[in-house]
């Protein structure tokens, strides 16, 4: 499946709206002006995801993973490489974390991921007029391949991944990350249809 120009623009616009809301809530949370870059949206078959993403994030990744269910179901991920994750925490909390993600830093990361993923998913929920149920977000820190395999493996249905490239800019620095939505064909069809009608 390849996104048409219109579908891509439509998705980008939606996610853009969602992110501007998100930026506002992040700003409020941190008392800092948080800007989110205009996101870029690309669609990949899920089995290509590892090779696509490994070109963009190196080594260990910190991922906030949230499962959503309902008429649209799938996995939502906020992916940062480890260094970016550490930097993001430092920017948000104004504290040096000493190059490590301790449990309270991990919690902050989960909260940020939670806010971003909620913003995105609820936008889709609103659009589809469906109720989505969310799991509690979890942080996974490990190799990219291991983590993605957990999500992709064992699923019979052909699945697609919407990769949203984004960056957070705070007063004192910029952190780049990726938002990844892994969806089944049915869910993706439903989403694209809704985007077309919106």
């Amino acid at each position: 499946m390849i996104l048409t120009r219109e579908q891509q623009d439509g998705l980008s616009e939606l996610i853009n709206i969602a992110f501007s809301r998100t930026a506002a809530s992040l700003s409020e949370l941190t008392d800092q002006r948080v800007l989110l870059d205009v996101p870029e949206v690309v669609l990949h078959p899920s089995h290509e995801l590892v090779s696509v993403l490994s070109g963009m994030v190196r080594n260990d990744v910190a991922a906030v993973h949230q499962v959503f269910n309902g008429l649209m179901a799938g996995d939502a991920l906020l992916l940062l490489d480890y260094e970016s994750a550490v930097l993001l925490i430092e920017l948000l909390t104004n504290e040096s974390s000493g190059k490590r993600l301790d449990s309270s830093a991990r919690e902050v990361l989960v909260e940020v991921g939670n806010i971003l993923l909620n913003a995105c998913l609820s936008m889709f929920g609103d659009l589809l007029h469906v109720h989505l149920a969310f799991s509690v977000p979890r942080l996974q820190v490990e190799g990219l391949q291991v983590m993605l395999n957990d999500i992709i493996a064992g699923k019979e249905e052909l699945r697609y991944a919407l990769v949203v490239y984004t960056g957070f800019s705070l007063r004192s620095g910029t952190v780049n990350g990726y938002l990844v939505l892994v969806l089944g064909v049915a869910s993706l069809d439903r989403l694209l249809q809704a985007v077309a009608e919106a």
Binding site: S25, E28, L29, T30, Q66, I89, L92, T93, E95, G98, R100, D102, S103, S104, A105, E107, V108, V110, E111, N114, N118, L121, S122, G125, H131, L132, A133, F134, S135, V136, P137
Partner: protein, 577 residues
């Protein structure tokens, strides 16, 4: 204490009981209007608010602070089905609780919070909030983090000290590698710049107690030139109130981490100098005393400029350690230079003294010769007086020979030994020397194995005669009377070899390597004393070397010695021979 039933219609009794009795977390639920429905025992205990006092009331009514902190949004999202995670780092707490007394004093509980929709058959009927006390965990982690940081600091300082030790050991090696004063100072500069500083300056005290700027090191030669000009105009004086002079007076190092923050660097500067210094972007400097056996010999100054490096105590330590090593090297180089100067002075003295001695000696010899001539003619001398005049002539001759030798030594030393080379027949020259000596020596037999053809060499006739006379003289001097001295002359492979063999005392094997050094005299175990200055063989070797030749010696103690002079034959002779 039992949760209010009508506000929690969707939680069964067992769940409520579990929440109340067993949960070690705070749990409360609300209905869709965000009115509190369940308030568990943990919350009662920690907030001091009884269930009866809160159930049925709006959450924001009980805690207006939550509204101010924007929590209404989170609860709204929960009613829309979303889960929220609140991290303690960003929020510290959700529900304020009275501080508890911790080991570290009064502490506010740190909370990790989850807010989720309460759903029944896909229908959101309210919200549920879980509050976990993470204070202890966070404190433990902070403690751990602090320990890790301390460890890392320790490791870093270990690494730094290792690399410092490496640097200092390299420095010691480099500084010990030369005795040349200039090279040693250059090495100090190379060690300082750019590893430790942008500028390295050495000021040494001279004998008059004045400072001499002996080194200015910087990577840019243009800047070094500028600094030299500056130094000529603004050389520090020992009486200056601050800076280098102060270090010299007190022996205490000076560290100015930031020049712009310190007035001490400017105290002794005038406006023009200050402007110049500013144009060099000087940032930080340190001056350490160069102390040798508790005597102040100078100051090593390190300056940071364009690197904008700020010197700290660790840098000062390095500078002091380097100074300690540098001062020894500088002192050694100074001593070596002094010794070299002394040798040059001595050589000049020997040269002058020999010349000065020759004048009265010439007069002495002249007058003695005159007396002898007169004695042979008009004014005969009594026999005893005649013997005395002969003795005067002999001793004056010996003295003359010695002075000539000394003059030769000084000529060799000063590079003034002149060799006037002309083609000559070495066979004839050797024969003449032998014949001359046979006349003078009655105590020994001298046997010459003549060459059967002329042997042409290019050389200085007078100097080569001096060589063979000297060697033959030694052979006579160092062998018992009645012995036979054999002189041979042979050619092969482009060389001529003149050997002089005596049946004498021989030379101890240990002495042979030093034989041709000046002023070297063989120490003998026998009682026989032979006079001499120990310069004859030195001059012989130098003359032979000036002819492109070598001299070798073979000797067995008690059997005798053979000295052989090897001289190159000119190419034409080689072809003919």
């Amino acid at each position: 204490m039992v949760p209010h039933q009508q506000h929690a219609p969707d939680l069964n009794q067992a769940t409520l009981r579990w929440l109340n009795e067993l949960a070690d977390q705070g749990v409360f639920t609300t209905d869709t209007e965000l009115r509190i429905a369940v308030w568990n025992r943990w919350l009662e205990l920690h907030t001091g608010l009884e269930t009866e006092a809160v159930v049925g009331r709006s959450l924001f009514d009980v805690y207006p602070d939550l509204l101010a902190r924007g929590m209404d949004k989170r609860y709204q999202q929960a009613l829309e089905g979303q889960v929220s995670v609140l991290s303690q780092r960003l929020h510290r707490y959700l529900i304020p609780m009275p501080p508890v007394i911790e080991a570290t004093g009064l502490a506010q509980m740190l909370q990790s919070v989850r807010i989720a929709p309460l759903t029944v058959e896909d229908r959101v009927v309210g919200t549920i909030t879980l509050i976990e006390d993470v204070t202890e965990r966070v404190l433990r982690e902070d403690e751990l983090k602090q320990q890790i940081e301390e460890l890392e600091t320790l490791q870093a300082s270990l690494r730094a000290s290792e690399s410092a030790q490496r640097f200092l050991s390299e420095a010691s090696k480099l500084l010990a590698s030369s005795l040349d004063h200039g090279v040693t100072l250059e090495n100090v500069g190379r060690l300082v710049v750019p590893e430790l500083a942008d500028w390295g300056i050495v000021d040494l005290l001279d004998r008059d107690g004045q400072l001499r700027r002996t080194l200015i090191a910087h990577e840019d030669p243009a800047k070094v030139a500028l600094a030299h000009q500056l130094s000529e105009r603004y050389l520090p004086r020992p009486q200056d109130p601050a800076g280098i002079a102060e270090v010299l007076r007190t022996g205490e190092p000076l560290l100015v981490p930031d020049i712009s923050e310190s007035a001490s660097g400017e105290r002794s500067c005038n406006a023009e100098l200050l402007a110049l210094l500013r144009s060099l972007q000087l940032k930080s400097f340190m001056c350490v005393p160069l102390v040798l056996r508790s005597r102040m010999v100078g100051v090593l100054s390190l300056v940071s400029a364009e690197s904008q490096r700020r010197f700290g105590p660790a840098d000062l330590y390095m500078a002091e350690e380097l100074a300690r090593r540098a001062v020894v090297a500088i002192e050694n180089a100074e001593l070596y230079r002094t010794a070299q100067d002394a040798i040059r002075e001595r050589e000049a003295f020997v040269s002058i003294a020999s010349h000065e001695l020759k004048n009265p000696l010439a007069a002495l010899l002249g007058h003695a010769a005159l007396m002898l001539r007169r004695a042979g003619q008009a004014e005969p001398l009594p026999p005893r007086a005649l013997r005395s005049v002969h003795a005067i002539m002999e001793q004056a001759d010996r003295l003359n020979t010695m002075i000539n030798s000394l003059l030769d030594v000084s000529r060799v030393q000063t590079g003034q030994l002149l060799i006037e080379k002309t083609p000559l027949d070495l066979a004839v020259l050797v024969e003449r020397v032998v014949t001359d000596l046979k006349v003078a020596v009655n105590s020994h037999t001298i046997a010459l194995r003549k060459a059967d053809q002329p042997i042409l060499v290019i050389g200085d006739e007078v100097r080569l005669a001096q060589v063979f006379t000297n060697l033959l003289g030694n052979a006579v001097k160092y062998s018992p009377a009645g012995g036979q001295i054999n002189v041979g002359i042979t050619t092969d492979e482009g060389q001529v070899h003149v050997s002089i063999a005596d049946p004498g005392l021989g030379i101890p094997a240990a002495a042979i390597p030093n034989l041709f050094q000046r002023f070297y005299r063989v120490t003998r175990t026998s009682d026989k004393h032979v006079s001499g200055l120990g310069i004859g063989l030195y001059v012989v070797k130098e003359i032979v070397a000036h002819h492109g030749g070598t001299i070798t010696v073979e000797s067995t103690e008690g059997v005798g010695s053979t000295f052989t002079v090897h001289l190159p034959l000119p190419k034409a002779e080689r072809i003919a021979g």
